[in-house]
């Protein structure tokens, strides 16, 4: 049997630390380099939300497969668990961000002294105390569940008792149900309310689909890195193929929801809705198309064949493109409302901060991977996962 204990090399840690340093420096540049505060705040929100969501998708990956009782994913389950360990970090950062002025700087509805007629109607929901209550509830639930899922999973591995397996299933069900609600509502709170006049019922699911695609891309990327480091040899082409199918499928799913939302608003052309895309067309037309190309056209065309899903040579570049693509998708969701058409931009702050957060996310995830064997050998479906081959 291969080596299941992952050790983080110094060199790798150094790389992550350098990335974090780049992030800190560009943040400093943002604050002192004449960049508008709103833009810096919006970038912070973007990255915190993006990587927090990746952590959540990691947890989602583990839990959804647990309740679906599928066997194949057990061999990559640890990666998902490790990703989920970013949730507490991201959560704290998010709270800090809101508390330390982020909320006031980019959310128009917080300026309670000059609200217009429409916003006054929404005060019962869009007010700060309630916002913070929701924030704490969402993050609290996520952190607790991430912690317990991880703990139970490790216990199952150590003790091999099937009662942990059934506890795992219960926890997973609880997470899926709560996440179904909290992911939607949190996206209204943190993203949709940046354009407080605008509304779309699909929004929550749209954001979720975006995060789903990018989360799986990240999972593939981490798996690839692990394999390059010589670990995870039990993961074969078939597993990669399945993950590739997810990436392919979720990219199409994202495009489907994007189209549904866009087309319906385009079609009815009601000003209270079109205002959202109007601004995006006017000031962000480049990003508008980049978004579609990176997130739909590229994965759709490149991952269509069976072969492309089975080789890292194709899967990894596509994953990177998708991660970049959904970063732009979030950019599209956040910037017009938070910063506005004129003040938005793309430069050192955007790139640097993202690198920094990527480093932080990588560090946390990889450190989490060192804490447990890379494969849950005592998982009842682990054997199934090894003896796993598909014909398609």
């Amino acid at each position: 049997m291969e080596n299941l204990t992952f050790t983080l090399k110094k060199k790798t840690v150094t790389i992550f630390l350098i990335m974090i340093a780049v992030g800190v420096l560009s943040l400093a540049f943002g604050f002192f380099g004449g960049i508008e505060g709103k833009r810096v705040a919006a970038n912070l929100l973007l990255n915190i939300y993006y990587f927090l969501s990746m952590g959540l998708i990691g947890l989602f990956f583990v839990t959804v497969h647990t309740i679906a009782e599928s066997g194949w994913q057990t061999s990559v389950q640890r990666v998902g668990e490790a990703m989920s360990m970013f949730i507490p970090v991201g959560g704290i950062l998010l709270v800090l961000f809101f508390v330390l002025g982020g909320l006031h700087s980019i959310y128009p509805w917080t300026h309670s002294d000059h609200l217009d007629a429409i916003l006054l109607k929404k005060v019962a929901y869009l007010n700060e105390p309630f916002f913070y209550i929701r924030l704490v509830v969402f993050l609290g639930v996520w952190v607790l569940l991430a912690y317990y899922v991880r703990k139970t999973s490790l216990a199952l591995d150590v003790k091999g008792d099937l009662k942990y397996f059934s506890k795992m299933r219960t926890l997973s069900a609880i997470f899926i149900v709560t996440y179904a609600i909290t992911s939607v509502v949190s996206s209204w709170d943190w993203l949709m309310s940046l354009d407080p006049h605008w509304f779309s019922t699909l929004y929550g699911w749209y954001v979720f689909s975006s995060m789903l695609a990018s989360g799986f891309a990240m999972l593939i990327l981490i798996l690839y890195l692990l394999k390059r480091m010589g670990y995870m040899q039990h993961v074969n082409d078939e597993h990669m193929h399945d993950l590739g199918k997810y990436l392919f499928g979720f990219s199409i799913f994202w495009a489907y929801l994007w189209f549904s939302q866009y087309m319906l608003i385009w079609y009815a052309n009601i000003p209270e809705e079109t205002v959202y895309f109007y601004v995006r067309h006017k000031y962000f037309s480049d990003v508008f198309y980049i978004n579609l190309i990176l997130n739909f056209v590229v994965p759709f065309l490149l991952l269509m064949t069976r072969k492309s899903k089975r080789i890292f040579g194709m899967l990894v570049p596509v994953s990177i493109i998708v991660i970049i693509g959904h970063w732009f998708d979030l950019y599209m969701m956040i910037m017009p409302g938070a910063v506005g058409g004129e003040a938005s931009g793309f430069g050192i702050v955007e790139i640097g901060l993202t690198i920094g957060f990527l480093g932080l996310f990588g560090l946390i995830t990889f450190r989490a991977l060192t804490k447990a064997p890379l494969a849950p050998k005592n998982h009842p479906y682990f054997k199934e996962s090894l003896d796993y081959h598909t014909h398609y």
């Binding site: 679906a68 929404k122 939607v184 509304f199 019922t201 319906l264 479906y381 054997k383 199934e384 014909h391």
Partner: protein, 456 residues
């Protein structure tokens, strides 16, 4: 392939291949039972009622229905969407579960697909009959005509024409391609000459050659890959019928995924309704086990909960939007003259499926049967609420109105139910209700006797 001992067997009883063939072909053999005759008489009578209603509609006009200037659609489109929704389970089971490697689909996919085809046929009837001038219905086809006039590609109804047609054709092909190996089995087991000739013709010359098998598997898989987005697209486009409009309660962006989810929800409910009866009547309890039922119930909880979240999202967003028309539309749903329909929908679709969280209930056949009927009813009312309650009080209060169905509309609905059950009863007699070849392929790994085979 290794299968964890934790998993329950998908096929009960220690069967060998020959036994599987025998068991599944049994319902086709011999004379139909008394119950079969009773069933077909009843459903045939319902279909005749529908024929009368069709005549009334075509001859006297849509005025024989309860519609009016404000409410241009009611039972017709409600039934249409309901049937289309039911028609989603088959393809969902075959395509999406296949892509997600759910082996338990093999016992139910054949009948679910057949049900899909029948439901789509029933569904397709409503957009036709709802036309004021059915005889000119061919106008919706983009054919070259003397006026050089084409159709309106902006219209969701036109998209429906393409979507429903494509879905029907692809589902038919998908179902039939899957049926070919089994038709070979029927042919080879047939005793009469005529029967042999007919099934010989239908089996397309299937021999079971490894080459054919391999390509057959590939094509099934790609068809599944095509059918999966197709099945999403169909109900998505149906939802566009409403969501593209400007009517409060119709125009909302969540409709596409919410409709798809609702469709799968109602489709599984109908599959359950049928199969709980069929497995008993056809002695197929070993193939369609309680485990299968439980799995379907899990799908029902998930889709039911998604639908529930969508209901609540819509309601919240109507308030959040600050648009008075939106707000009124939803208040009116919950408290207006059609509030009863709304609460039936809420009870049947959101509350009752939650009972499936209890293992006792989701493994209880009677409870499952009852809840599946509830879901069927609830999903019908969901469409009724969307169609009628939204229309009857929209923008200008001067035009607000009420709707009451007429006997002719009842007749059309009952008629399609009659056709549906008639076709299903004929299907039982004409084709194997379970995919024999597919069951055999998982028999070793998931049969009851697997432990004897794998003693590692």
């Amino acid at each position: 392939m290794y299968v964890s001992p934790l998993r329950e067997p998908l096929i009960k009883g220690a069967k060998d291949y020959s036994q599987v063939t025998k068991d599944i072909l049994a319902p086709m053999a011999g004379k139909p039972s008394k119950y079969w005759y009773m069933g077909i008489t009843l459903s045939g009578a319902a279909a005749l009622f529908g024929a009368w209603a069709t005549f009334m509609t075509v001859y006297y006009g849509i005025g024989t229905w309860g519609l009016n200037k404000t409410i241009g659609w009611a039972w017709d489109i409600t039934n249409f969407v309901w049937w289309v929704g039911i028609g989603h389970a088959g393809t969902f089971i075959s395509a999406i579960l296949l892509l997600f490697r759910q082996k338990w689909r093999t016992s139910i996919n054949r009948s679910a697909e057949a049900m899909t085809l029948m439901a789509i046929a029933c569904a397709g009837f409503f957009p036709l009959i709802h036309m004021g001038r059915l005889l000119l219905g061919f106008f919706i086809l983009p054919y070259p005509n003397t006026r050089a006039l084409w159709v309106n590609f902006n219209s969701p109804l036109l998209w429906d024409v393409f979507a429903i047609t494509t879905y029907l054709l692809v589902s038919l092909v998908f179902w039939y391609i899957g049926l070919i190996p089994d038709l070979g089995t029927v042919r080879d087991k047939a005793t009469g000459k005529i029967r042999k000739a007919i099934y010989g013709f239908l089996s397309f010359g299937w021999t079971g050659s490894a080459r054919h098998c391999s390509r057959h598997e590939t094509i099934s898989l790609i068809l599944a890959g095509l059918a999966a987005p197709l099945v999403l697209s169909v109900h998505t486009i149906v939802s566009f019928d409403f969501a593209t409009s400007v009517i409060p309660g119709w125009h909302t962006t969540i409709f596409p995924p919410y409709f798809v989810s609702g469709a799968v929800f109602s489709g599984f409910a109908m599959v359950l309704t049928l199969l709980i009866v069929a497995r008993k009547a056809l002695n197929l309890e070993d193939y369609i086990t309680v485990g299968h039922i439980e799995n379907m119930n899990k799908v029902i909880i998930i889709t039911g909960s998604i639908v529930g979240i969508a209901y609540i999202t819509e309601f919240f967003m109507a308030w959040y939007s600050g648009v008075e028309y939106e707000q009124y539309a939803f208040i009116n749903r919950a408290t207006g003259p059609y509030a009863w329909a709304y609460w039936i929908m809420m009870t049947c679709n959101v509350i009752t499926p939650q009972l499936f969280w209890f293992k006792k209930i989701r493994t209880n056949l009677v409870a499952t049967f009852i809840i599946s009927i509830f879901v069927n009813i609830g999903m019908w009312f969901e469409r009724f609420v969307i169609v009628v309650t939204s229309l009857h009080r929209d923008y200008l209060p001067s035009s607000w109105s009420m709707y009451k169905p007429s006997m002719v509309e009842v007749g059309l609905y009952v008629g399609t139910l009659g056709v549906f059950f008639t076709l299903f009863l004929l299907f039982i007699r004409a084709f194997p209700v379970i995919a024999i070849a597919e069951v055999k392929s998982v028999l070793k790994s998931s049969g009851d006797n697997k432990k004897d085979v794998h003693h590692e």
